[in-house]
């Protein structure tokens, strides 16, 4: 459908979005780009431009690592879709018993930091691990293999697809399919030809996010991949930044390769979305009558329960078992269990509570800022009438492909310049900037998908009746995308609260976050204490948004 566009100047919405994007994304990225070109940038010198490029790109293993990265991304996307899409469609179109409970249980895997989940799986599946202690066999051969890596990473990412697709399908509703039914289509045909195609924006957006998360994730490929002889770009980048002599230009150049991979996926997604219109939201309330499952009731419950058990219960139990163990070598016997790790956390003898409050406030601030900026940017890209929309859209996808460690380096390079009169560097604000940069794509992708489904006439009507652009945005468009936006802000909160890789490098002196706290415990051999902190964090990050949302009376729209 051709969109009717009135010509007008830049709206304040667009200016706000562009300014925010420049500050949060373009500035650190610019410095990464400069670092790739000028190897001595950190020392304030522009000497020997491009001298590092051939060395970094001449690495004989680069092609193999790039292909491995693509393979990993593609496999995680495929398996995530395979698990999440059927569950999401069932959830959206049918009355699934315990629907809210399943939503909650599928939210938790996202709250489990990937490095913790991976460690939990190692401790469960390795020889003499928890599985072997309970049932007498282990699955180490599976875990330390490419399928094992894909399995563990998918359990962490499939909720992204589940929530996006179930919300989109719910919005599309069954009305359009009902029309098809009236004209004689069978239920399957109506679904494949009408409901699923109309849900493409949510599906494509979430799969793109999963792809970007998979190629950017460090912990799981590092812990499992090395044993399988499976190297990816992120592990090579991390090695350049962690191994003396430090190779910042090399890391920057390899990051740009990663950015290009992600950009290719982004262009593919955009091509899919711009081929046709997906506008389904006309402003009239949707009838949300869901169908009964009938004789499929039990099999569907079994399906939901199986996924919830594997993705949520097993990792949680592994984390809890480790946290409750006095010693790791003592294993799962009653005499070895105790609450000492939890009392150490709650008595704050190790600074755990301060780390918790720091991370929770940062997570909250990051969710608010990225939520607002994300909605504004998505509006500017989808609805505003202006040149350079593609550029803005590109900026919103950039951070998705940048490894956390590289964002951290870019932020230090950008904000630690001696000539800056004030700087967020060495304050917690630098962490906030890092989280906003890394996580901005989440709200943008979700809001963009939602905007694609809103007809242009709604905003036009508001403007005709005298609303200013900001008012129309706030009163008409924002409420319509709010369910998607809130879901993405919740994800931002969860991920920001536990972000590790950038935090380790940019945390100001004397400040620790949840993840750096946990990481330090692991580093010094206190795995139990780290796992206790992880468990407390998962409880809080799951409970807090639920409490906030139910206080706001919006629980139904999200969960």
């Amino acid at each position: 459908m051709a969109r009717a566009r009135a010509s007008e100047g830049l709206s304040p919405t667009v200016i706000l979005a562009a300014g925010g994007l420049v500050l949060v994304v373009a500035v650190p990225f610019l410095f990464i780009l400069l670092q790739a070109v000028f190897p001595a940038l950190g020392r304030g010198s522009l000497a020997a431009p491009f001298s590092a490029v051939s060395g970094a790109l001449g690495d004989a293993r680069l092609l193999g690592m790039a292909l491995n990265t693509l393979l990993l991304g593609a496999l995680v996307v495929a398996l995530s879709a395979l698990i999440a899409v059927p569950l999401a469609v069932l959830r959206a179109l049918f009355r699934v018993p315990g629907a809210l409970l399943w939503d909650l249980l599928f939210l938790i895997p996202f709250m489990i930091p990937p490095y913790i989940a991976t460690l939990g799986w190692i401790m469960t599946l390795q020889p003499k691990g928890y599985l072997a202690q309970l049932l007498g066999f282990d699955l180490a051969a599976f875990l330390f293999s490419v399928p094992g890596i894909v399995f563990v990473m998918t359990l962490n990412t499939f909720p992204v697809v589940y929530f996006a697709v179930s919300r989109t399908v719910e919005t599309v509703g069954s009305r359009y399919a009902d029309v098809a039914r009236v004209f004689g289509a069978g239920p399957a045909r109506a679904f494949w030809r009408i409901t699923l195609p109309l849900s493409t924006p949510g599906l494509a957006a979430s799969l793109l996010l999963v792809f970007a998360m998979a190629i950017e994730e460090y912990g799981t490929p590092a812990a499992l991949g090395r044993r399988a002889g499976f190297d990816v770009l992120v592990t090579a980048i991390d090695l350049r930044v962690s191994d003396w002599p430090i190779d910042l230009p090399g890391a920057a150049i390899l990051s740009l390769v990663l950015v290009m991979l992600s950009f290719a996926a982004f262009l593919l997604q955009r091509w899919i979305l711009t081929r046709r219109s997906f506008q389904t939201t006309t402003g009239k309330p949707q009838e949300s009558a869901k169908r009964e499952l009938g004789r499929w009731r039990l099999p569907v419950i079994a399906l939901f329960a199986t996924v919830a058990f594997v993705a949520t219960a097993l990792p949680l139990l592994a984390i809890l078992a480790t946290a409750l163990s006095r010693t790791i070598s003592g294993g799962l016997v009653w005499s070895n269990l105790g609450l000492s790790n939890f009392t150490a956390i709650l008595s704050d003898s190790t600074g755990a509570l301060r780390a918790l409050s720091t991370s929770l406030s940062l997570g909250l601030a990051a969710a608010l800022i990225t939520g607002i900026l994300g909605a504004l940017s998505a509006y500017a890209v989808v609805k505003a009438k202006m040149r350079g929309r593609g550029l803005l859209d590109g900026l919103t996808i950039l951070p998705n492909a940048l490894p956390g460690i590289v964002v951290a380096v870019g932020l230090i390079l950008a904000w630690n310049q001696p000539w800056l009169p004030v700087t967020p560097y060495n304050t917690v604000l630098i962490l906030l900037l890092a989280y906003c940069c890394i996580l901005l794509p989440q709200p943008v992708r979700y809001s963009t998908a939602a905007f694609h489904q809103i007809g242009d006439n709604l905003e036009a009507a508001a403007r005709v009746f005298g609303a200013s652009p900001l008012t129309a945005f706030r009163r008409i468009l924002l409420p319509l995308i709010l369910p998607s936006l809130l879901a993405s802000m919740l994800l931002v909160f969860a991920v920001a609260t536990r972000e590790l890789v950038a935090s380790v490098v940019v945390a100001p002196v004397g400040v620790s976050t949840i993840s750096t706290y946990i990481w330090r415990q692991f580093e010094q051999g206190s795995v139990g204490l780290g796992m206790a902190m992880a468990f407390v964090t998962i409880l809080i990050t799951t409970a807090l948004p639920l409490i906030v949302l139910s206080l706001m009376g919006r629980r139904g729209s999200l969960l």
């Binding site: 003499k128 691990g129 812990a223 399988a228 191994d243 430090i246 070598s329 630690n416 004397g510 580093e523």
Partner: protein, 317 residues
């Protein structure tokens, strides 16, 4: 929405003011967090000078210093690898300083610009509950009893492991590593990652574990023993240095003095590291109790990439 913006702004401002308190001395350290916390508290109690610390692995600390180089923040750096001290010295980044308290630090643990805070050694960390015979020598771990049961930290990620690999391969060639690889030994991340499977029992021993982490585990009741082979091992002194861009050099010197004082060295020993001063006692084997393999740092680090490549090829699947 403007309300939320405002609220976010207020929250950000509150966070800003919380983090902006400036320290007198800024320490970047690759040591254990509990060690720097105790040293900082003790130093502040004695002198009234505030200390803020940034703690991470040697690699992450160095990455931060590299990125900060245009406008450096750190006053005192404590690395876990002596290599960084020599390199920083060559770049002319260090202040020459000999602390009066360094008189009893052996000569090989100090230079004009760096002095050890403490020392760790590499060892075999063995789980007595693993059902394997107690190893006494590096070569024991290549025996059939340890088939598939040995972990090595990755020398690309652990500087100390690199020195062990360099020293052993320099003294006796790559034969031992070939045998280890043929016996199913696996390379597993940095130090903690290599130790964890040994604690749970998936593996029986770490070949080249950093001793103090295992000793701390043992003190907590883990089933783990730390064995120093008679044939020799390498030590990993933790160099402490003052950066020449520091605007707090006098306070930084006082901090170095404190770490090398009786009180400071007692804190180091309390974390199961060897004190740098030979006259301070500790409840663990000390340098004099170990045979240290000779290591020509210049030559070894000159061939670093080659050594890592040979190692990676040896253990490639």
């Amino acid at each position: 929405m403007l309300n939320s913006l405002l609220r976010a702004g207020v929250a950000a401002a509150a966070l800003f003011s919380a983090g902006a308190a400036l320290a007198d001395v800024t320490v970047y350290t690759a040591g254990p967090a509990s060690l720097i916390d105790k040293l900082a508290a003790g130093f502040t109690a004695e002198t009234g000078i505030k200390v803020e610390a940034f703690q991470a692995t040697t690699g992450k600390v160095m990455a931060r210093i590299e990125a900060e180089a245009a406008n450096p923040v750190v006053d005192v750096l404590i690395s876990a690898s002596w290599d960084t001290a020599s390199d920083f010295d060559k770049r002319g980044w260090l202040v020459p300083y000999t602390s009066p308290n360094a008189a009893n630090v052996p000569d090989f643990l100090k230079t004009e610009t760096a002095v050890a805070q403490g020392v760790s050694a590499l060892a075999i960390a063995w789980n007595p509950a693993s059902g394997t015979p107690k190893p006494a020598e590096w070569a024991d771990l290549a025996k059939p009893e340890y088939k598939d049961l040995v972990n090595l930290p990755d020398p690309a990620q652990s500087g100390a492991t690199f020195e062990l690999v360099a020293a052993l391969s320099g003294a006796q060639g790559w034969g031992l590593f070939d045998e280890l690889a043929a016996n199913g030994a696996s390379v597993a991340g940095a130090n903690a990652e290599a130790l964890n499977p040994v604690l749970q029992g998936a593996k029986a021993a770490v070949f080249g574990a950093v001793d103090y982490i295992s000793l701390n585990g043992k003190a907590k009741g883990e089933s783990i023993e730390v064995i120093f082979p008679q044939s020799g091992t390498v030590i990993a002194p933790r160099p402490m240095m003052i950066l020449n861009w520091s605007k707090q050099q006098d306070d930084a010197k006082k901090f170095v003095d404190y770490v090398l004082s009786d009180a400071g060295q007692a804190i180091v020993a309390g974390e199961n590291l060897m004190p740098a001063r030979s006259d301070v006692k500790a409840d663990r084997p000390l340098i004099a109790d170990l045979k240290i393999l000779p290591l020509d740092a210049e030559a070894v680090y000159g061939k670093r990439a080659e050594t890592l490549e040979t190692f990676a090829k040896t253990f490639a699947k």
